[in-house]
Symmetry: D3
Subunit: 338 residues, 6 copies
């Protein structure tokens, strides 16, 4: 499909989940998945048929090897993944139910990824058409922030486009002496596509949106973003309403630099299987649309379909394919496919 | 209960399912169930207390033996089940969720069932009051079609009644040089009870129904069926509306040769556990009603209750009993039964 | 938190459940939980930070030991739990789904608990501020009824308050030559807090409530209870409406001796994970409120929150903590807690 | 194969086992098998191709139904199995390892089987060529002992042969005011085949064997048995030496009334998978040999092969077939069978 | 490590195994692994650090995709794997124990691999230094045999070396009108390395070896092979003695064209975890040695170490690495590696 | 049993193991156990009936809570266990098989235990008769070493006896700028009982033992220890010979200050289930003997029995009881205990 490679740079994590709807260690076993915001985007794009390369660092042990193997299994090129001394970033999760929220315990401090941030970006980005980053990497510490900026600027310099997913996690930023707006502004300054909403822009640009509806707030934030960041052509985001932990209503919108606003109808997700990675699935879907030359509104719809379907797939990775998203969008019903 | 035996002839399949809501081989194990349209009816009738015999052929290996054992476990008489060289028909299934449809991969070609179609129908049908067939068997190839017709005509000749479930699967028919309408007409020509709707009749009789509502279409199709097939006394079918993959609304109707139309209220199935076999559960329930002398409307309601309850039971077989269906119909609530 | 210990006296049971939504022994394994009405209250209170002691008797074998270990694991003091010759009470459960009700098979007759009913209540209740009992224990036979009465009267004599949960199980009472009203009246005569509704009061006091609404019936029943039982200060109960087996609507109310009536809004439990122990979670929550000095309405709300959350937790025990209930009550949404 | 039916009368139990080599309830699940000394013989004979009928009583609930279904699954005729009020007999087992012995907890008191001992033996034994009993049934109480004697004498009267497996369990006999020798003598008095050794004969006849070797003791005991019980033609038993819990050395012998002694070489069972039911597998194998007209030594060898192979099969039932035993006896090696 | 790529051509199969030591479908689930003689070699070599490419065809469905993903996960280049209409080859396995042999049920007939045998060998072999084949592929039918020969001759023509593993499976050859010796001679005629013993040579060359010891027979067979096949430089094989199904004694030998004979000491495998793929692990290990320039005896020892270790790894793939084999060979003991 | 409490101070770890004999993450789940050298001793002593208290610090999250709960479940008093900010120490393990060694990946750096080393030893040790420590704690860093020394000296000052298990882990010591001999000498200087052998003494005292047999080396090392450390009365250790990963031969010895040497016969552990924690089980067993007043040789034998039995129990904890060890020592065979 796309001829130029898409590079995703970020940390690969092991996710350890309590089985079913049980509490953590209520029963003595854990299900293991591999995840990470950028890895999720990489796998999703690979399943959509793109040439995708992952850049990152894992622990030089069986856990790290296995995590890389999972990327490869799903079609991601891992030649730029490195094994280095240190530990794997982990996170533990217990799925919620009804009115009991899901709970994530991060155990990712001092991982091999954060210890080894020297990449030869020229080599990694050779032949790449896109670089995808998220706000998680710069939040992991100064070296990581510097590395993300170096990657983004190298991509820009090499003529590749940059997409950036805000993914603002105050918990991570608060763990060190950080200046998030300054760092995020440098990153967004390189980006052609932003996955962000008014809350991200409030953090980055400091200006609150005073519009009434969420839609208007997003449009206002996008206007600010287009003004602040000269390369940004699209800003896209999802809106989620949660009736309870298992029942969500999702919609999405995308604003173009020329002011065009695209929205989707809302979709009811009435028995959510796994919501982790929904935003990454959205980003991957929109990128798929843009990279393959869809009109902006169609790219949004594709991303929205991908995001909705992700909620039906266990694990962080959105393992659906283009034909699944197209079936979703064509609304051809829910009969058993034989 | 019923004194005369009900014979079900059809292929026994092994179903291999991805656990939970996972994708096929997302995790490296498969749950195994035994199924098959006619076997499902047989087990259901046995659980309702009937003397039921299965006729068919399985592979002469541990898989075939085990499949027969499952029928026997649930009370079906398997003395006419045969083990012959060849393979077991398989199907793989991944349950859908939300807007992601369930997916079935058939791997049943060239099974021992399709290779060995010579049965001594006289012996198999001795003492039988009913023979149940479905449209799956004739779709499996010419020898299977001939065998199904031979069975149906032998039953008719022996004074047994024939029930026939349309179960039209174009995928199967398309795999060989078949004339479905001709074959189905011969089978329906022997039947006293048809499980079919207007779409089946359009295939078989070629005449589209032009009514507005689905109910009217079914009535119109039934009128055509009664005209074309002299022995048919009842035509029954379910209607299913799917809000999403997990949330269905089901109703059912039955038309008598005298033109009487019976309908059920619709039932909301809001967290479907397993929908495979719902139609077979309906057929078994209606047959139970007719065989035990219920009025047509009561038989319909019993079949409808059975069909609804099937959606709560994992696997192809409807393992509920008469008292479960009666509790459903008497609407005595959902408190825990102690 | 509370300085005085809360003692819970009742039978510890092993619960053997069919996995997932399968039927009993549909697959050849059983999940094991520990439960029992009073044990559920004890664990819940321990998780809320209270000093809780369990009094009871288990079989002197690996099953009994393991059951005691589970109590201890969750923070209950088990120094007054005894191991004696006999068997463990068991119950088998198959979770329902859709319109198929859950089914419980009790296999608890002649357990070590019912055989050994001699406790040194003076020692067990030393330093205790509360004793919690339920209507299950006296229903298990004359010796158990006598023992429950002895416990309640010893508590009262020692200056401890008694709470009593009706939990009327006609199946158990019918197994012996019992006079339930007489026994229950003696127990309720010692209680400060009753978990009961108009149906319990009809059994105990023989007087039907003729009010129209359920709320009025409960108030009327409470009035009768306050009149009949001089120590009762609060009567509390939940109301449950079941749309289907997985979808319940819950609310709760509490009546004070001075006639004040407190109610909660109703809460939709749209994908119930496990409803066993919901009433016990409610009792524990209300007791937590009362013991920690909350106003009656706040205690009710806390109990209601605990009851709702229990439906999201597998097993009999309500493993949530005070902060979970507070989050529920403050309605701060269903986003993933990181 | 054999034309006359073999009837097995005894209690069907549910076995609940800790998974793998874990301790009971170390992890919160239990594997379920169906077993019971006589049921094990019945299933084994059915797998060897015989017409086998089981006579017994189970609880009239889902557990009992499921236990009967397991017998049927493996080819046993269950038309004489009855469902009656009461509980299922259970046993819990934790497999040992190394020097830690396996441990069985019986929880079978007061089962439906022991409560309902009235059978119409004439009907049950109609057309039967053999009746198989074991020493477990008479040990369960007076009514059971009477019932076993009634069955044995009815069989003898109807011209069927009786086989009896000593299976002496002092724990069970001690639970009531029993006179084991008197009861066992009446049963052995009807038997053509005894599965017993010198220890059983010491219990039954009171005379200790003073021979030096075990083999001589068994011969001496057999001589006593032939003298005491006029119908006994064969006495057979196994000898087991345990190097540790997982490593056994097994051999077997059979003595004929004419004094001929047959022995087998010993077989090393170096990684025992499941030893429960080994003796029952032996009995079934010897009976298979005798019923199909093998010479006594061949019947012994067949039984010995069956017993050895049972140790490789999880659960109580010996699910191997005639061809498996023949392969064992022909020593054609351990290569993978494709 | 090695700079030139090693290409492995053969069928990828799904293996469906009964869990633990249970019989097929004794419990209703199956563990899934991916395997196939040449795929096993490919994965093993990839784990040893080589550039390995797999050539083959899988079904164009989720099963085929997943099988390719497994190869990729373990580091095999899958760019020449194709998805085509048809079915996946399957095999079912039940692990044996004690004296009960393991049992394999093949269900691989008419797979996509056998239907689509047209490969562009020039492209597939570009830059390849080695091609590995086994006797399984030509046994699958005439088109497969032709395809294997085409591959081998194209490799030879392109200057790549060919290794060939006899893997004689009479069951497969017998399924069609085959002339195994003629076909195998053409294949061996291209090979530099043969994995074969005297039994293979008897099939291929028709001449029985009359030596006394197995070692002498192998040497004699090797002499015949060197004479018949001009390119063969090494012939290597393992010898296996089975004390029981779980306890094997393994040794290996290699003969060079100059007549040098290398042997290994025997290794006791006393608790075999999974023996499937042991021969493939041996071939991969020897190839690793040869490709990396080890002396013949060292290559043999490396292959032997790999083969022994494979018996400790569940599944078909030998997932150990070079350092594991080296630790085995250096005999540095069995203490826990921390 | 013993009236004075035994205090165990050390880190509680979560162990995450690959199921069965699989490699780490070969399948996507992990079994979870709780462990840690001193916790293992604590649980073992509690199962032997002692009053045991654990002192330590866990992460203040669900993982830490759960780990404490496991200690409590098995009867350890956890009132001195603290929850503090930080992470839980983890270790991953893949069990070996045959000649493939088990592999442990530690991920315990910077745990809450190592961050928070301030304990009020006076309170923790109040009423304690024994303090048990191991060489793991001081190896975790300077603060931990200081804390261990403080604990040991406080115990000594309070009149409690100290037992110390060498457990030398060079990997841990090497991670910081440590002087192991100096630290270990201070700790051993407080001890009455040392679990150590000649290798430990070589590290601590620098003097190699030049005796020929291992037994003589241990005696020589003990002599050095008694000289260097005035309070030591007993030095005990096990010797392990590994035939392969699953087959060990174990023996043990104990030297008294008066020079008496006690040895055990060796015990063959032919199918090891889980060897982790074997040394801790030995220490607990010897302590049990000493605390309950056994003669030194009897204490050694009890410890040895406990150590052997541990190898049959999954997980780190030795869950056997006194009666199990006594049965082992009395050699009353391996028949099933009913």
């Amino acid at each position: 499909m796309s001829q130029s490679t898409i590079i995703c740079y970020g940390e690969l994590l092991l996710r350890l989940s309590a089985p079913g709807r049980g509490l953590l260690l209520q029963t003595p076993s854990l299900d293991v998945h591999v995840g990470g915001a950028e890895a999720n985007v990489a796998v999703s794009l690979a399943r959509f048929g793109h040439r995708v390369g992952a850049v990152g660092t894992v622990a030089d042990n069986a856990l790290g090897e296995s995590a890389i193997g999972e990327l490869r299994r799903h079609g991601v090129d891992t030649r730029f993944m490195r094994s280095r001394p240190g530990r794997m970033g982990l996170y533990f999760i217990q799925a919620g139910a009804l009115q009991r929220p899901s709970r994530v315990l991060y155990d990712r401090a001092d991982s091999a990824f954060t210890r080894h941030t020297d990449y030869d970006w020229k080599t990694c980005l050779e032949g790449a058409g896109w670089l995808h980053l998220s706000g998680v990497t710069p939040a992991l510490g100064l070296a990581c922030a510097d590395s993300a900026i170096a990657a983004a600027e190298a991509a820009r310099a090499a003529g590749a486009e940059v997409s950036f997913d805000g993914n603002f996690r105050s918990l991570l930023w608060r763990a060190w002496d950080a200046d998030p707006p300054a760092i995020l502004r440098r990153l967004m300054g390189t980006a052609s596509v932003l996955f962000a909403d008014h809350r991200d822009m409030a953090v980055v640009l400091g200006a609150e949106c005073d519009a009434d509806s969420i839609e208007d707030k997003v449009v206002q934030a996008a206007t600010q973003a287009f003004k602040a960041f000269p390369h940004v052509r699209y800003m896209a985001c999802t809106q989620r309403r949660q009736v309870d932990v298992d029942y969500h209503v999702l919609s999405a919108m995308l604003v173009e630099r020329d002011g065009s606003v695209h929205t989707t109808p809302s979709c009811t997700l009435a028995h959510v299987v796994d919501r982790i990675g929904g935003g990454d699935a959205f980003a991957a879907g929109v990128l798929h649309g843009l990279v393959t030359g869809m009109a902006a509104g169609d790219a949004l719809r594709f991303g929205f379909g991908a995001a909705c379907l992700k909620h039906s797939v266990p694990g962080d990775f959105n393992l659906v394919g283009v034909e699944d998203v197209e079936a979703f969008l064509s609304e051809d019903g829910f009969h058993v496919r034989r």
